[in-house]
């Protein structure tokens, strides 16, 4: 955008990226480590009921306005792909 200048951005980009992460953790009171522990626990529970590929699972924090969301994308192994017997 021309108004405030968007080209050749340097330290401001870094500031914005750092702030994005800091604000997520401030708002949710959840650290990167805690998020990782929770992810493993979620996978363990889900795996007890359906077959999943842990490598394909994406669990991340996003936001809609000021509302924080925990988004999980967990592809299931379908019966078609499962071995018979």
């Amino acid at each position: 955008m021309a108004a405030w200048g968007r080209s050749n951005r340097q330290s401001a980009d870094e500031a914005k990226e750092r702030l994005k992460l800091v604000l997520i953790h401030d708002r949710t009171d959840l650290s990167e480590d805690e998020l990782s522990i929770m992810k493993n626990e979620l996978l363990a529970v889900i795996s007890r009921h359906v077959e999943i590929d842990p490598e394909m699972v994406k669990i991340s924090m996003s936001h809609d306005g000021r509302e924080q969301k925990l988004t999980a994308d967990i592809p299931l192994k379908t019966a078609r792909r499962r071995k018979i017997g």
Partner: protein, 267 residues
């Protein structure tokens, strides 16, 4: 008309809360409204010197709350604007001298007397902050385009939401267009995107604010000042008018109206 109570807050100190409070009070009074500003920073009185009214204090906010005077007696009338008054903070007491319900009571008493009550909040998230947001109809969060100020603003916005006093609106102060253009300062768009609240004003970084504060003459009193105009624009938006955001050049001068301040990407 029953008064609107507007509280100016920030979390972080030194971002320009008191300057903003003084200038918004001046701008509203210049538009013909009867305005009382209240210094909510008990123990660290400041709004009086910024307004240039420090020599005329007899009674303060704690005197009102503790019934040593009537509210009228603690209202210092401004020398320049007939309809502008200040209720100063006590200097020899601390935040615990006043409770949130005291602030609500004082504001309720003033509501039928004036059009706007502007409350200058102390830094921090403790008692003083809670006192000043308790009576608020509108909360304006002041920040600078810097990581620490933005982070603290986010915390304050969350607390305001939790107290069901939101949504707060945002003032971005001390924007340096030269640094912004070079990519070395967060743009107003960046800050709005990060904090995800409505913007109500952008104030340029202007050394004339230091000079006007030295003299106890808020910059909104200077009809030629662009920074003064930026405060006046916020005052109009508080009144419910739709005023376009202005574009700044590298000297902090306004160039033209900015149509797409919130638009992402190029135009």
């Amino acid at each position: 008309m029953a008064a609107s109570v507007v509280t100016i807050t920030s979390g972080k100190g030194g971002v320009g809360k008191t300057t903003t409070s003084a200038n918004l009070a001046v701008a509203l009074a210049e538009d013909g409204f009867k305005v009382v500003c209240i210094d909510g920073d008990i123990g660290l009185r400041n709004l009086d010197v910024v307004l240039g009214l420090e020599n005329r204090i007899v009674y303060d906010l704690v005197d009102v709350v503790e019934n040593r005077c009537r509210i009228r007696q603690a209202m210092i009338r401004d020398k320049r604007l007939e309809e502008l008054y200040l209720i100063p903070a006590a200097q020899t007491r601390d935040k615990s001298a006043i409770s949130p319900s005291d602030m609500v009571r004082v504001c309720d008493e003033l509501r039928n007397e004036v059009d706007y009550i502007i409350i200058d909040s102390p830094a921090g998230i403790e008692r003083g902050f809670r006192n000043t947001i308790a009576p608020a109809d509108l909360i304006l969060v002041v920040t600078n385009p810097e990581v620490s100020a933005v982070r603290d603003a986010d915390r304050i916005i969350g607390l305001v939401e939790a107290e069901e006093k939101g949504p707060a609106k945002l003032i971005i102060n001390r924007v340096n267009p030269g640094l912004t253009k070079r990519g070395d300062m967060l743009t107003p768009e960046d800050v709005v995107e990060l904090l995800a609240i409505e913007l109500i004003g952008v104030i340029p970084d202007d050394e004339n604010v230091v000079i006007s504060t030295n003299r106890g003459q808020p910059i909104a009193l200077d009809p030629k000042s662009k920074t003064g105009q930026a405060f006046k624009n916020i005052s109009k938006r508080i009144q419910g008018q739709s005023v376009p955001f202005m574009q700044l050049d590298e000297k902090g001068d306004f160039l033209a109206k900015v149509a797409g301040l919130f638009r992402q990407g190029g135009d």
